[in-house]
């Protein structure tokens, strides 16, 4: 029944709708540059969502754990075989994305008789110099984007834009010390999380934390206190995951998951009150 072009387009449209729904409950992921490298964070419900891919590449994911796991394994395989056969410096986020993830995810998305990947992925790549840091995101349909400075995963692109707007409004965030970067990241995460819960109704919950002023509502940034309160509320039931790519870290692997005690010290006081944050697998 899909041999007619119209049917096919309709089927892809249905698939988009189905997938969009799958992400509304997901937790956003934020990655941004800071003075010492790159910090990536999210709030997860048990299953970790942030991983090490290669010496200078970290992955953050949204979606079904089994799909993320499949894609993660493929990336690991590709990166390590390439790093062994050529050299570690030839393993780049851009190549993993363009020749690895994108074709696979796009094909799965368009083969309407098979299941698509319920996954959105963010790759953060630490450059030798800060200006070479690269952030890549890919959507469930295989569409990918390259950015400098930061990247975010959220249920919809509107959510991602909203999160980015918050980060861009923090002047000089890329030179900030770690604690400040963690706070910026958490606030951006809260922006995304609130935007998602109010999805379908863009002036919903998020607008309530926006600074007042009717006309300014669309332009003004949400208030930090309210955002951190949202983080604190969420973290009470879930766990905070935070990983770093440290430019001056020892050895060749620059990836490091923050331990719970380290993270505890870095958190803004407004969030620190809750004690239940947990850390990703310690390496």
């Amino acid at each position: 029944m899909y041999e007619e072009p119209y049917r096919w387009i309709e089927a892809v449209g249905n698939r988009r709708q189905y997938l969009d729904e799958q992400f509304t409950m997901g937790s956003p992921v934020v990655a941004l540059a800071y003075a010492g490298g790159i910090v990536m964070l999210t709030v997860s419900r048990g299953t970790p969502k942030l991983y090490e891919i290669y010496d200078r590449i970290a992955l953050g994911g949204m979606g079904h754990p089994a799909d993320l796991e499949k894609l993660r394994f493929s990336l690991l395989e590709m990166a390590h075989v390439e790093g062994f056969n050529r050299s570690p410096s030839d393993v780049t986020g851009a190549r993993l994305m363009k020749y690895g993830l994108a074709p696979t995810i796009k094909q799965a998305f368009e083969e309407i008789y098979k299941a698509p990947f319920i996954a959105k992925i963010l790759l953060a790549e630490l450059g030798v110099k800060p200006e070479r840091d690269l952030f890549l995101t890919i959507n469930y349909d295989g569409n990918f984007e390259e950015r400098r400075g930061w990247a975010a995963l959220g249920a919809t692109s509107a959510v991602q834009i909203e999160m980015g707007r918050y980060i861009d409004a923090q002047p000089g965030f890329a030179q900030a010390p770690l604690a400040q970067a963690v706070e910026t990241g958490l606030c951006a995460w809260a922006v995304g999380s609130l935007a998602q819960t109010s999805s379908g109704n863009p002036e919903g919950e998020l607008s309530s934390v926006r600074e007042s002023g009717e006309k300014a509502a669309a332009e003004a940034l949400p208030d930090t206190t309210a955002l951190l309160a949202h983080v604190r509320q969420t973290v009470a039931e879930k766990s905070l995951e935070c990983v770093l790519l440290e430019r001056n870290g020892p050895g060749s692997s620059k990836y490091r998951a923050l331990r719970a005690d380290e993270l505890g010290r870095l958190l803004p006081p407004a969030v620190r009150a809750s004690d239940s944050h947990r850390c990703a697998i310690d390496v």
């Binding site: 891919i53 394994f73 075989v81 790093g83 062994f84 696979t104 050895g251």
Partner: protein
């Protein structure tokens, strides 16, 4: 082979198929892509293959010290005087190599990627025993090449075992048999010379090696390598004119640490050179 090409599809693993058992095994992954390690190639008569030379590992007060000279030779010829034979595989383990450098470097590359791949896929460090097995396995794969005369490697592996909270030393024969060294291990053409000295110093010296603080252990290592260089032409020792010192690394719970040349120079001039 195996290299990433445009339009090459990512291979999606189907969990439940026969590759279930090899998850996290990088060496199997390489082999499944056609990689071969330790191919026997008979050495033709008169062919001189570069060799690497005196390495030693000893337990001192805080952990394990691993040291190696820097000379690579082929027959009578000195090929290179800046070889690094004490190679870090990860933050807590080191492989010191004696034998054919081509094979040894390849082994280290395989091991380095294997340990990282395991950690990143399985989300946990490979156990210390697992690391030891990986070294043995590679040496076993290498037996044909070792016997053919083109690829013999006799390494010393040292690392920190987090489970037992101790730094340990293992040495191997070319066939891959693994032996744990209680106090020290040596390998390479200069090793017979220093083996005797190690035994003497450890047994009748003012204190056993295991009681030496870091600085004294380093001085011992410099003296031992200088002795090896005295009697073995294939060992480099110290070349003060060129400011060439052996490679000395320390392994403790905190990880692997390299002693900088400036420190070695200072210790050498103070405690190794005999004042005239």
């Amino acid at each position: 082979m195996g290299a990433m090409r445009p339009h090459e599809k990512l291979r999606i693993q189907n969990v439940g198929e026969d590759d279930m058992g090899m998850q996290g095994d990088f060496f199997q992954l390489l082999k499944s892509q056609g990689y071969q390690f330790g191919n026997p190639v008979a050495a033709s008569a008169g062919m001189e293959i570069p060799n690497a030379t005196t390495i030693l590992a000893l337990k001192y007060r805080d952990g394990v010290l691993v040291a190696g000279d820097r000379r690579a030779t082929a027959g009578n010829m000195v090929m290179y005087d800046r070889t690094d034979k004490v190679l870090e595989i990860d933050r807590h383990s080191v492989l010191a190599i004696a034998g054919v450098p081509a094979t040894a470097y390849e082994m280290v590359r395989v091991l380095e990627h294997s340990f990282k791949y395991y950690r990143r896929t399985q989300l946990q460090e490979l156990s210390f025993e697992g690391k030891l097995r990986a070294v043995s396995k590679l040496l076993k794969e290498n037996v044909p090449a070792a016997l053919a005369g083109t690829g013999a490697v006799v390494p010393v592996f040292a690392g920190y075992d987090h489970e037992q909270e101790a730094a340990k030393i293992y040495f191997y024969d070319i066939l891959g048999a693994e032996f744990e060294a209680v106090e020290y291990a040596v390998s390479g053409s200069g090793s017979p010379t220093i083996r005797g000295i190690l035994h003497y110093v450890n047994t009748w010296g003012p204190q056993p090696l295991a009681a030496l603080p870091e600085e004294q252990a380093t001085v011992q290592a410099l003296r031992l390598l200088s002795s090896a260089a005295e009697f073995d032409s294939a060992t480099g020792g110290v070349n003060r004119e060129l400011n060439l010192y052996p490679v000395v690394k320390l392994i403790t719970a905190a990880g692997v640490q390299t002693i900088p040349d400036t420190n070695l120079k200072q210790l050498y001039e103070r405690d190794v050179v005999r004042a005239l």
